[in-house]
Amino acid sequence: MTLLELEQVEVGWPGQGAVLSGLTLALGQGARVGVVGPNGAGKTSLFHTIAGILAPRQGQVRLRGQPVRQGQFVPDVALVFQQADDQLFCPTLIEDVSFGARNLGLPAPEIAARVAEALHACGLTGLEDRPITQLSGGEKRRACIAGALVMQPDLMLLDEPSAALDLRSRRRLIRLLAGMEHAMLIASHDLELLLDLCPRVIVLDAGRICADGPAHEVLGNAALMDAHGQEVPHSLTPHNPACHQHRLRAKI
């Protein structure tokens, strides 16, 4: 069964042009899809629309066939914000991670079990009482993901998950996300991360889907990527023998 469907969705601010227009997209259970596009392409607006923060002017967003309405609480969809500080507001890590579970009205033992599981999955066990302000950038990012995992969602929306992470934190994040079975939409400029995690990629530009297909085909299409302000990821760049020989000669 299709988990998420967007049908001819148009989103915009009153009196202004559309931020997203004619967007049609379907996502199956457990699917992982990367979203690439230049700044201002509408990636964050797309996520906010799916999560019910923004209302479409036209079209419909459906989750398991049920329409998502603006302001409605949809526990099956978890959004991890681009800026970790936009999401973390409790004084300590454990309070923030347990926030969603408490709002679900779960019994205390289940809250504790879910929190422990999420912290363990995100490698944050032992930091429970650490003030949020004392977490590193990578820990904050993982805390946001742990806060989302506690809700046990079917769909995770990750907005620039690797932004401002160092290499080790980024690698750790990729391992974490790769081990999850949730359906995911990941918006990122980190195309190598998308190659690692997402079998499918869509290119969003000026609020429209310009390409949708297997990650290697879409991200490896130099003309397409260039037309939408992107670059082919280094790992997909064709090997240049002349350049290699030049480097060898310089080395000798």
Partner: protein, 241 residues
């Protein structure tokens, strides 16, 4: 969560809020200077019992400055009976009495409030407010204001640093620039608060699914009853002295 549970405050947020409201009301009703030592005694015991007197005294600085302002300014501007002349300046008896009373009550209320509420996490405090029947909108506003103030302070500190690193002037001449920084920080903090609000709603805040607040324990009731008796005693003393 056993570590967390062990360190959780023994009294519920609801009981603490009820006690703070009751005592603050009683303190505010005092109209006699002779009753002030009793208020300070109660506040002092609360501060000592909180187990973190030094931290509370540090956080009391802002209120102390405000109290000093009342105590210093009111004798200069309010009243008719002149106590003394300091050159061209007259000190009025009514202003001095009112200033001392307002400053004394203010310090006692703020110290007692900090001592009783400081062990409670903001989220629990807001849940406690809701449990006492405070409208959800007001409770939510209180929570966002707490986060918003932190955000403004952090933004302001960063903006000041950035300004100083690029050779910005300091002192009184920089006051208009600081006002501009504050305005910018407020606008940015509002944008972040909107994001926070969205993040909270997405994690079910206000969706009505959360478990209702637990009933008050015997210890809570004993605390509230004892503090209620104390508040009544303060009101009686304030009127009889």
């Amino acid at each position: 969560m056993p570590e967390r549970a062990r360190r959780a405050p023994a009294l519920s947020a609801r009981a603490r809020l009820a006690v703070v409201f009751g005592l603050a009301f009683a303190f505010a009703s005092v109209q006699s200077l002779a009753a002030l030592p009793a208020l300070w005694l109660i506040a002092g015991v609360s501060v000592l019992a909180s187990g973190r007197p030094w931290q509370i005294l540090v956080r009391l600085r802002g209120a102390a400055v405000l109290a000093a302002g009342f105590a210093l300014v009111l004798p200069l501007i309010a009243g008719e009976v002149v106590l003394a002349h300091l050159g061209p300046i007259a000190l009025y008896q009514e202003g001095a009495l009112a200033g001392a009373l307002i400053a004394g009550r203010l310090l006692a209320i703020v110290a007692m409030t900090l001592a009783i509420l400081s062990p409670v996490a903001p989220f629990d405090l807001v849940a406690g407010m809701r449990g006492l029947g405070v409208p959800t909108l007001m409770a939510d506003l209180a929570l966002l204001t707490l986060r918003y103030m932190d955000e403004v302070a952090a933004q302001l500190a960063r903006a000041r640093l950035a300004r100083r690193l690029r050779g910005g002037t300091t002192g009184w001449r920089a006051l208009p620039d600081h006002a501009l920084l504050l305005a910018t920080s407020l606008i940015r903090a509002q944008a972040r608060s909107e994001q926070l609000w969205a993040a909270m709603r997405l994690r079910g805040y206000g969706a009505g699914l959360a478990a209702p607040a637990a009933t008050l324990s015997a210890r809570d009731w004993a605390f509230v009853t004892g503090a209620g008796g104390l508040a009544l005693a303060v009101i009686w003393m304030g009127r009889s002295l």
